[in-house]
């Protein structure tokens, strides 16, 4: 296998909103290469999110202080106040920059603001478009490598020196020298369950925790990995998993197995997203769920909102036309966001010199629960910061032995023999996490999941792609993703085991109450003998 060598100042891994914004800001003063595992402008969660997708305190009723308070409150006290302060203060500038890049938000004639749950004032605006950010990055001279997947970060003397990558289109292996690297790889939602074509998540298939795994391997610390946010979505028929979500406004449609619309009389302000999920899981536990383990949902309640919500919910109208309004469908929570991620400072730098992280790949901004629409803002604010600071990094010397070693690993996966195809390992892992590591966690279930993860990790050694083609061999990508997902899953499950309380999105059956002694974060890093977990860490220190 031939190694193609590239040289750059800043290497951005990930082509969503955070990666694009980072590349734009770095490109003003540095040479930038951006890797996207799929198509730049259309990949990741940012690639599928018009609608009300960003929050900033632009209203006269609002202030950065208020945005800060709302975000801290929603995080159940776990977010890093220094980062949240930056988020609140830089949101307006970062969001309006989208308009300078070409986005145009709904006007009447001032920007129309929407108030998602948890915000004390209307603060959400949109739509912003990923492809406008990706075009701006191209205009700034960023070299974009599409369908190219980073496989490993190279570190010498505690400093990143570059990364290796494979080109999906021609199977080529690349070593990219870089003075700094930014992980903008998004979350790891794909570890949660499997439907018929993807995980039980509305997020796209590429969110496999690549940044968490690569950052961890490179020595970076991670935080809050036990906090995984969910929202309700269709679960049956299975082809609609992740296709659309069910907002609290549709609560009237839920039916228990006695035929009772039991949430009909509860007024909307009393129902938050988390409460609705709790209510529904409770019903299912009581044995009043639907035939496939969810809850019945009368989609007739969609009808009056289809036209009205056309732009607030992405593709709402068209999807419901396909799904068929008026039918009784089954609903269950899906996973849609990782609050946790790589620990960063105010410059978005990690504890590894020259390694930065931003967007969903980074942790510490949302604590135990994220406020709706804060995510895109997070990507824009911290993406810009990561780009600005990454451009100032000094380089180190790349260790070629590491490149050779990684090349051998990839070659091993390609040429390896064994009984499992990558998709089989992947789905085994996904099903195991879904069954015992997703909702209503407890000690027994989590321990079982952990044992299962280790077993699947062993089986992964017997994993190999069925095809040897070099052209668009997606199985090779799936295989590498499997390792990343295994690592991400272990972090999630072990952190969840450690946190013996319920807080935000992390709900334990055996510890149902929030414990004030647990108002601290769990830190994870790679020790000499595997993963190290440290509890009782405070982010504001």
């Amino acid at each position: 296998m031939h190694v193609q060598v590239l040289d750059t100042d800043v290497l951005v891994i990930g082509g969503g909103a955070a990666g694009a914004r980072c590349a734009i800001h770095a490109a003003g003063s540095a040479k930038v290469i951006l890797l996207d595992k799929s198509l730049f402008g259309y990949s990741g969660s940012s690639g599928m999110h018009p609608g009300w997708n960003m929050s900033a305190s632009i209203s006269a009723l609002d202030s950065p202080e208020r945005h800060f308070q709302d975000t801290m409150k929603s995080s159940c006290g776990l977010a890093n106040p220094k980062l949240v302060r930056i988020l609140a203060e830089e949101a307006t500038g970062a969001v309006l920059e989208c308009e300078r890049h070409g986005a145009i938000f709904r006007r009447d004639p001032s920007i129309v603001l929407h108030q998602p749950g948890g915000h004390s004032v209307p603060r959400a605006m949109g739509p912003a478009f990923m492809w406008m950010e990706s075009n701006e990055a191209r205009r700034m001279g960023v070299k974009v490598l599409e369908e190219t997947m980073a496989t490993k970060l190279l570190v010498s003397d505690g400093k990143v020196t570059g990364a290796t990558a494979i080109d999906l289109r021609d199977g080529g292996f690349k070593a990219i020298k870089a003075k700094s690297i930014v992980l903008a790889t998004g979350g790891g939602e794909q570890i949660f369950g499997w439907g018929t074509v993807a995980a039980r998540s509305p997020c796209p298939i590429e969110l496999t925790g690549d940044g968490y795994a690569m950052g961890y391997e490179a020595g970076a610390e991670l935080v809050d990995m036990e906090f995984n946010q969910s929202l309700l979505g269709l679960m049956y028929p299975p082809q609609f998993i992740g296709a659309t979500n069910i907002s609290t406004g549709l609560k009237d449609g839920f039916i228990d197995s006695d035929g009772k619309y039991w949430l009909k009389d509860t007024p909307i302000p009393k129902i938050t997203r988390a409460m609705m999920i709790k209510e529904i899981l409770q019903k299912i536990e009581e044995g009043k769920g639907s035939p496939h383990g969810g809850i019945l949902f009368d989609s007739k309640v969609i009808l009056p909102t289809v036209e009205k919500e056309m732009f607030t919910r992405v593709a709402f109208h068209e999807i419901w036309k396909k799904v068929g309004c008026g039918e009784i469908l089954e609903v269950y929570p899906n996973f849609m966001y990782f609050m946790g991620g790589i620990k960063i400072d105010e410059r978005c730098e990690t504890n590894v010199k020259g390694l930065f992280a931003c967007g969903e790949a980074a942790g510490g901004i949302h604590g135990a629960n994220r406020l709706g629409t804060n995510s895109f803002t997070d990507c824009l604010v911290f993406g810009s910061r990561a780009g600005t600071y990454a451009a100032r990094s000094e380089g180190g010397e790349m260790d070629w032995d590491q490149v050779e070693e990684e090349k051998d690993r990839i070659k091993g996966i390609m040429e390896g023999e064994g009984e499992f195809r990558p998709y089989q390992i992947r789905q085994k892992l996904q099903r195991c996490i879904w069954e015992n590591g997703s909702f209503r966690r407890n000690e027994v279930k989590l321990r079982r999941t952990l044992r299962e993860i280790r077993k699947i990790g062993k089986e992964a050694e017997l994993m190999h792609p069925a095809s040897t083609t070099r052209i668009f061999n997606y199985e090779l990508v799936e295989a590498i993703e499997c390792y990343n997902m295994l690592m991400t899953a272990e972090m999630v499950v072990r952190a969840a085991l450690l946190r013996r309380e319920s807080r935000g999105s992390h709900q334990r059956e055996d510890y149902p109450l929030t414990d004030d002694n647990w108002a601290t974060n769990i830190l994870i890093w790679k020790g000499k003998r595997g993963m190290v977990f440290k509890k009782g860490v405070r982010m504001d220190e």
Partner: protein, 506 residues
């Protein structure tokens, strides 16, 4: 158990000399999606290459062709039985169903889809008129899936002369409507092929977000261009002819009814025949056939005394003020003639009267019917006797009658009711039928492109082995005849009314 039998396009340039098709069986259940079919093949047979991501029509990455129609695999349901899956046409192929979008993306990028303005606004956020913004919102529904690009007949026929519907819409029109943009987007639109659209509406047909590209992109941009004086010379010629002579063909208005000399047609009746310029001046055989049929069926009918252009060509070309004059006159004339129903044998007139006149002059006091629909009634009620005509016949759905107005069944029913006719469908047909390339002012402005498009549509006729091609739009007939003259294809073309007359006589 029900099964889907999928024939899938396979091509690995590193291993295969040429593309091939492989067949796979996949278990079917209610609303199986095409993406599930592909994933099933990937897991249970062999790792075919295809792209996808969000599974909810948002990321636009899973575009493929299902039985020749561009679709998003994620939310397209398949029925049990045979299906064929191919990559989107018009793009280089990376492997199997994965296309290379780079060229389209870079072309889009070169045209600067970004906002062009010299300096940022003094105050941010700036106030903007909500109407202009919501016009942009309609275009921002686009998910850049490029299905329209694959569906557009002009992308293939005109090659690099047009950027195609996706980029024309998402980049150029978006910025042309953006109140903040300072770029000369209309000149850009023209340079990038604004005149190449034949108004076939196939883009709209395949768009997962149901964006009406022909209307809110092409016609709106053309109207803006006309307002700015950036006219196409050929369009300007026919527009000025319509202004002076009330027809696009530079013919004298007083000759309009010359074809009906000696026919003693009344000018007032409850049933009015709206002849249309093409039948009046260029395809008089269709006008005459229509009259013969109506006479044979003893229909009391009239032809407007002072009929003028229905407005179709000038609406397509963006001359909205002039069109409004024509429409006002036309509606008034038909009203004065006492019309309760108006029959058009021209699909272009039919679409314009039916869909666009009410928008310009309000609700019409009469019903608008296409001749093929009227023929169904005449045949069903035994008003005309059809005798045997032998031959293998296929039918071309004119875009204006089919995709624009949804009339597909009536012409087929009429054709099938003629004894002796062996009717064969072209593939693709109905909603997906190929445009002849003449509409939207293309025939006038870019005759070579129109003929080239018709020649590729004729390939589909050849595949049916039909000897006769029937249409219901005089303009399609003309263009097909021109294409046959050019290509030497051995094929007859006629209008549905002509075939009916033949059948009445034999």
């Amino acid at each position: 158990m029900d099964e889907v039998k999928a024939k899938i396009f396979r091509y690995d340039p590193s291993q295969d000399r040429e593309p091939r098709y492989e067949a796979y069986s996949i278990p079917w259940r209610d609303r199986t999606t095409l993406l599930e079919v592909l994933r099933y093949v990937y897991e249970h047979y062999e790792p075919i290459a295809f792209r996808y991501g969000c599974r909810s029509m948002l990321c636009g990455r899973c575009g493929v062709e299902l039985n020749g129609k561009p679709v998003l695999a994620c939310m397209t349901f398949v029925e049990p039985g045979d299906i064929e899956v191919e990559p989107l046409r018009g793009f280089p192929i990376i492997r199997d169903l994965v296309i290379d979008r780079t060229k389209a993306e870079l072309r889009s990028f070169e045209g600067s889809p970004q906002l062009l303005r010299a300096k940022p606004p003094e105050e941010e956020p700036e106030k903007l008129p909500s109407q202009a913004v919501s016009r942009c919102m309609d275009l921002l529904k686009c998910r850049t899936c490029y299905l329209c690009q694959a569906a557009c007949p002009m992308v293939e026929a005109a090659q690099d002369n047009t950027v195609g519907p996706a980029i024309m819409s998402r980049n150029i029109a978006l910025r042309a409507y953006d109140p903040r943009d300072e770029g000369d987007r209309l000149t850009e639109a023209i340079d990038e092929g604004l005149w190449y659209c034949s108004n076939c509406a196939n883009c709209k047909e395949v768009c997962p977000r149901e964006i009406d590209i022909p209307a809110i992109v092409i016609e709106d941009l053309r109207a803006m261009a006309v307002e700015r004086g950036l006219t196409n010379p050929a369009h300007k010629r026919f527009a000025s002819s319509i202004k002076e002579n009330h027809n696009p063909y530079r013919e004298a208005h007083e000759d309009r009814l010359r074809w009906a000399d000696g026919l003693n047609v009344s000018n007032e009746a409850e049933t009015m025949f709206f002849v249309g310029c093409t039948s009046a001046y260029r395809r008089q055989e269709i006008a005459k056939s229509t009259v013969k049929i109506l006479r044979e069926a003893d229909v009391e009918f009239g032809i407007p005394k002072d009929e003028r252009c229905c407005g179709s060509p000038i609406l397509r070309a963006g001359y909205r003020d002039l069109a409004k004059e024509m429409v006002e006159h036309g509606a008034q004339a038909l009203k004065e003639a006492g019309a309760k129903r108006v029959i058009c044998s021209c699909a272009g007139c039919y679409k314009t009267l039916k869909l666009e006149w009410p928008k310009l002059v309000g609700e019409l006091p009469f019903e608008v019917i296409h001749m093929s629909q009227y023929l169904v009634d005449l045949v069903r009620n035994g008003k005309i006797a059809l005798r045997e005509v032998k031959g293998k016949v296929t039918y071309h759905d004119p875009c204006h009658l089919g995709r624009h107005c949804g009339v597909y069944d009536e012409p087929r029913e009429v054709l099938k009711s003629i004894p002796g006719i062996e009717f064969v469908e072209m593939n693709p047909n109905r909603e997906n039928s190929l445009c002849c390339g003449a509409g939207g002012g293309v025939e006038a402005a870019l005759p070579d492109t129109a003929i080239k498009t018709a020649i590729s549509a004729l390939e589909k006729v050849r595949e049916t082995r039909a000897k006769l091609l029937v249409s219901t739009y005089p303009f399609c007939k003309t263009n097909f005849l021109d294409a046959i003259a050019e290509s030497g294809e051995k094929l007859e073309v006629c209008d549905l009314t002509e075939l009916i007359v033949k059948s009445m006589r034999s």
